[in-house]
């Protein structure tokens, strides 16, 4: 059982602020400033999880969020890196990947049967007998994966923040803060990102001075914000707890540091084996001593520092130094020229074998903690995503950036610095270079730069790495995430997967939750040994986002659905309307019953809100030319104040949309298009206008104008009560566009009739919506006016066989097929679709859209099949029950030869059958008397 050691300057825990949380049903006490990992370590929990494949016990290893060992389920969220996750009062924490518990995991037997699970084992075994795989697969699947996906909503929506600083610094270590201080003091807007919520390693004033310098200079330091990818642009994406940052900077400084690497020897994954980062942070920041009998493996100063830290905290320490001479030290024993050959233990380390590098056997040393110290892999991943090139550096024994894209800088450990001094100098140089490239004045930069360049050279001793692997019984892990061992890598290479990229795909090394942070060096070196190559000849695998884990919710952002309401929406709601989606719009589906509403329109008067229609004003000396080219119809002869139905085609001759075009001035037209097509049609029309470079302005006034359609035999009486203007049949003819005041509001009144009755489509400034609606409803009251919804409108238009583009037509429908050859003025010089239609025979299309009536009560759904002698030959696109006709009426695609009155055909859907009878003319008022009246 470990416990807190005495207070020390620089510790992060607030002993005066206790916190308690739930850990697998028991209460664990911690302090503010603790992470889950440190609190559990203080509580004596040494096993933080079970491994992915073999269910081996694992403990705290890095304390920096760089390995998979401490992933836990926290408040329902899986795979939280508990070593860096701050404790919160009352949080619920559970370990993963073990049943019934991590301490006693029944799947520990998998470790014993690991010989059955070589890399790619699912390709190799359980193939014979044939039933074997079917039996085994569900079991394997149930064992695969990490954590449990939460079923409930697990977080609040995340925001997206876009930042455009002059300089973005990634990493707030010495190099990053120095770069930020220089850039900001040169007057550049500077942002610094760091994944950590606390900077420094637990020593007072470690980077505090630099942090203060950067902040005072005006740099914005975003802690707890992890850059996880660099994308084209370059765009840097970073995740914070509640938001996604998208950052475009003019200059990028990568001060991403390095990730400490472990050593490979038998049982190198036992709890109690950890990196010096973990030992240092546990002792200095959180005051937890991870072991009383410590062995430190190192080849440089870092190990001796850690040894001193542990010694000071009360541990008995032995340093194993790879260098032949080692170094003298007081307070602990040094074994020079040696390495760790193997480790032993079951649920934690018990002893290590210390021997000569590359040789078998050695002296046994009992211990409860083994610290691997000072082997660094520069975090070049984000840098590599910018296109930076890496090359092997002998002194650093690592791949370092050798060429950088323009406006990209690297400083600190990522660029090969191993001392604090070199890192800081490199950071300052990067900041100054960015400032100078961006034209910021900096008087003494010349002299300073020279001085800094001398300091920036890393003059430390060359790195000596431990042997690629150890000797003895027990698994030697390269990859902790996916449980890939040295032996498995050897096997994979022998099978022909003899490069890092192939090994990655076959064995999944570097592909796990840590994305290669903890295993890249070991994988590269084991690969190079197995292939007979060298470390220098085995570069790391390609870097791809995400470099740190990102929750899907952060990428998904806010879950928001656009929702549009017309200015009369509240009136509909007050009238008891049920609403439906029409694109982004909420439109009344019905107020009472569709039948009642249809009845009102056919016998009295009805009112529908059609504000959602797309509306354009097309104005300019060449407006006629634009319309003549956009539509197959003719508009040059359209008289002022007249309206024409227009069909819009693309150049293949396919119907895009339909609507009305009203001439409201010599050079001005008012154009309506289908609700759902408005945005696309706006782009279509303005695109052609731009391409043809016509002197025309196209203005989308869809939102500016509200509109209602007043329709029914009594519509004229209602109109005359609303306006002083003459609305007689002679003054306001069918297909006329008239400007008049309606209910005191200036309006454009279009006499058109989608529903097949005398009708007025009244367009007016949308802010008057409620006033106009109320006035019309009041004026219509003596005539029994009823508001009608989309469902009634659909019945009404079907009785007239008016098509809905997109509902009744598809991406292949041409005007001839839908019986609108009359709209095509093929003799015009040019229009969109002219050449496409020339290839078609107007008289003999392949299939036709026809009206039909159907027998019986069954309403064929949209998409029901039209069948001929058991073969599919067409489909129903719309059908509704019509009271006026006394039958089902609809539209359907049928073979062209059937397009004559009275042809019967069979409609099928599932077990349903009906007989359709073709009707080539509107069912209701076929002569169109009523809408012209």
């Amino acid at each position: 059982m470990t416990e807190r050691i005495g207070a020390r300057a620089g510790e992060e825990i607030r002993r005066d602020r206790p916190i308690s949380f739930d850990f697998e049903g028991r209460s664990v006490s911690a302090f503010e400033g603790d992470t889950i990992g440190s609190a559990l370590a203080a509580a004596g929990v040494t096993i933080t999880g079970r491994s992915f494949k073999y269910h081996r016990a694992r403990g705290l290893y890095c304390m920096t969020g760089s390995c998979p060992n401490c992933l836990m389920q926290v408040d329902g969220i899986p795979n939280v890196r508990s070593c860096i996750e701050p404790v919160r009062e009352g949080m619920r924490v559970q370990r993963q990947n073990a049943w019934p518990s991590v301490t006693f995991d029944v799947h520990g037997w998998l470790n014993t049967f690991s010989f059955m699970m070589p890399p790619g084992f699912y390709y190799k075994i359980f193939h014979r007998p044939r039933w074997a795989w079917k039996t085994v697969e569900p079991f394997i699947r149930s064992k695969a994966g990490l954590g449990t996906v939460p079923r409930e909503k697990d977080h609040d929506p995340r925001e997206v923040h876009n930042l455009h600083p002059d300089v973005l610094v990634i990493g707030a270590g010495a190099a990053g803060l120095a770069a930020a201080a220089e850039a900001a003091s040169s007057g550049l807007s500077t942002v610094v990102l760091d994944e950590r919520t606390t900077l420094g390693g637990g020593e007072p004033d470690e980077v505090a001075g630099l942090e203060a310098e950067a902040r005072e200079a005006g740099a914005r330091i975003l802690l707890g914000s992890a850059a996880f990818g660099v994308f084209g642009g370059p765009l840097v994406a970073a995740a914070a707890a509640d938001r996604l940052y998208r950052i475009r900077a003019r200059h990028l400084v990568f001060a991403t540091g390095a990730v400490e690497q472990g050593a490979v020897f038998p049982n190198n994954d036992l709890p109690g084996v950890m990196l010096s980062s973990a030992a240092e942070l546990l002792v200095k920041r959180y005051r937890v001593l991870p072991g009383r009998h410590a062995v430190v493996l190192t080849s440089g100063e870092r190990g001796y520092e850690t040894a001193a830290t542990l010694r000071e905290a009360g541990a008995e320490v032995t340093v194993v130094d790879l260098r032949p001479q080692g170094r003298s030290a007081t307070g602990f024993r040094v074994i020079a020229g040696s390495t760790i050959v193997a480790a032993e233990g079951r649920r934690g380390i018990r002893e290590v074998v210390v021997g000569r590098p590359g040789e078998e056997g050695g002296a046994t040393l009992p211990c409860d903690l083994l610290v691997v110290a000072g082997f660094q892999a520069p975090s070049t991943n984000l840098l590599a995503m910018t296109g930076a090139e890496l090359a092997f550096d002998e002194d650093a024994q690592a791949f370092l950036p050798v060429s950088l894209p323009p406006n990209v800088h690297a400083a600190g450990a990522v660029a090969g610095a191993r001392s604090r001094e070199a890192a800081e100098a490199q950071g300052r140089i990067a900041g100054l270079e960015a400032a100078s490239a961006l034209g910021a004045p900096n008087a003494d930069a010349g002299d300073r730069l020279e001085r800094l360049r001398t300091q920036a050279v890393e003059g430390g001793d060359p790195i000596v790495l431990p042997p690629e692997f150890g000797h003895g019984h027990g698994k030697q892990f390269a990859c902790l995430c996916m449980d890939v061992t040295r032996k498995e890598l050897k096997t994979a290479v022998a099978e022909g997967f003899d490069s890092m990229e192939l090994l990655k795909r076959y064995t999944t090394i570097t592909m796990g939750p840590c994305q290669g942070k903890a295993c890249m060096t070991a994988s590269q070196r084991l690969c190079s040994r197995a292939t007979g190559s060298s470390f220098a000849g085995t570069p790391p695998t390609t870097s791809r986002p995400p470099w740190v884990p990102v929750e899907l919710g952060t990428l998904a952002g806010w879950r928001r659905t656009p929702r549009k309401e017309t200015t009369m929406h509240d009136r509909h709601a007050d009238a008891g309307a049920t609403f439906m989606w029409a694109g982004d719009w909420r439109r009344p589906h019905r107020y009472t019953t569709p039948e009642e509403e249809v009845e009102a329109v056919r016998t009295g008067v009805g009112l529908i809100d059609v504000s959602t229609l797309g509306k354009f004003r097309v104005k300019g000396p060449e407006a006629v030319t634009l319309l003549e080219r956009l539509y197959p119809n003719r508009f040059s002869d359209l008289e002022l104040g007249r309206i024409r139905y227009g069909l819009m085609l693309n150049d293949e001759g396919v119907i895009l949309d339909d609507g009305t075009v009203a001439r409201v001035g010599e050079d001005e037209f008012f154009v309506t298009v289908t609700t759902g097509n408005t945005a696309a049609l706006e782009r279509w029309i303005t695109w052609w206008n731009a391409d043809w470079a016509l002197d025309v302005r196209v203005l989308n006034v869809s939102g500016a104008y509200g509109a209602v359609n007043l329709a029914g035999p009594s519509a004229r009486e209602v109109m005359s009560a609303l306006t002083d203007a003459d609305v007689s049949a002679e003054a306001v003819k069918y297909l006329s566009a008239t400007t008049m005041d309606v209910a005191g509001v200036p309006a454009l009144v279009l006499r058109i009739g989608f529903v097949g009755e005398l009708g007025y489509e009244i367009h007016f400034p949308s802010m008057y919506g409620e006033h106009v609606w109320d006035a019309i409803m009041a004026a219509g009251e003596p005539h029994g006016i009823k508001p009608f919804g989309l469902e009634a409108q659909r019945i009404l238009r079907l009785e007239k066989q008016h098509i809905l583009v997109g509902q009744d037509t598809d991406a292949e429908s041409d005007p001839y097929e839908v019986g609108m050859a009359w709209a095509v003025k093929a003799e015009k010089d040019d229009f969109l679709g002219k050449r496409g239609l020339e290839g078609l025979d107007a008289e003999a299309p392949g299939e036709r859209l026809v009206g039909f009536t159907a027998s019986g009560d069954w309403l064929p759904p949209e998409g029901a099949s039209v069948v001929h002698e058991g073969v599919w030959v067409g489909r129903v696109t719309s059908a509704r029950k019509s009271a006026a006709v006394g039958a089902i009426v609809g539209l359907a695609w049928v073979p062209a030869g059937w397009a004559s009155d009275g042809t019967t055909f069979e409609i099928q859907f599932g077990s349903h059958r009906a007989t359709g009878t073709v009707a080539m003319h509107p069912f209701y008022d076929p002569e169109g008397q009523r809408l012209r009246s």
């Binding site: 994308f231 084209g232 293949e652 303005t686 695109w687 731009a690």
Partner: protein, 102 residues
């Protein structure tokens, strides 16, 4: 995938604010041959390199304009209004030897 595009009216904005209109092709008019018509309707140059293409600032000023973008790097080196197109200049994606493009 996203990058900045300099709208001739609004300045540099996120590509996500724009609608892509495809490479600038030339419409086969009433006199064009069948081959040219088919080329215009169904074929694109799909260049690997600099391309003149249409963009509309959908969430901004709504204007259509032309951009020269590198299809591999997404670098946009120039944007301009159709009316600003140099007289007599050819689009960068229409080179010699590509006779199918009018």
């Amino acid at each position: 995938m996203t990058f900045l595009i300099e709208c001739p009216n609004c300045g540099p904005r996120e590509a996500l604010e724009f609608s892509y209109g495809g490479e600038r092709s030339h419409r086969a008019g009433p006199e064009a041959s069948e081959t040219d018509l088919a080329g215009y309707l169904f074929f694109r140059d799909n260049v690997d390199g600099w391309q003149t293409e249409w963009w509309a600032h959908r969430d901004g000023c709504r204007a259509w304009f032309l951009a020269e973008r590198h299809t591999k790097t997404n670098e946009v080196r120039r944007t301009f209004r159709p009316s600003d197109h140099d007289e007599g200049a050819t689009d960068v994606n229409v080179g010699a030897g590509e006779a199918s493009q009018v």
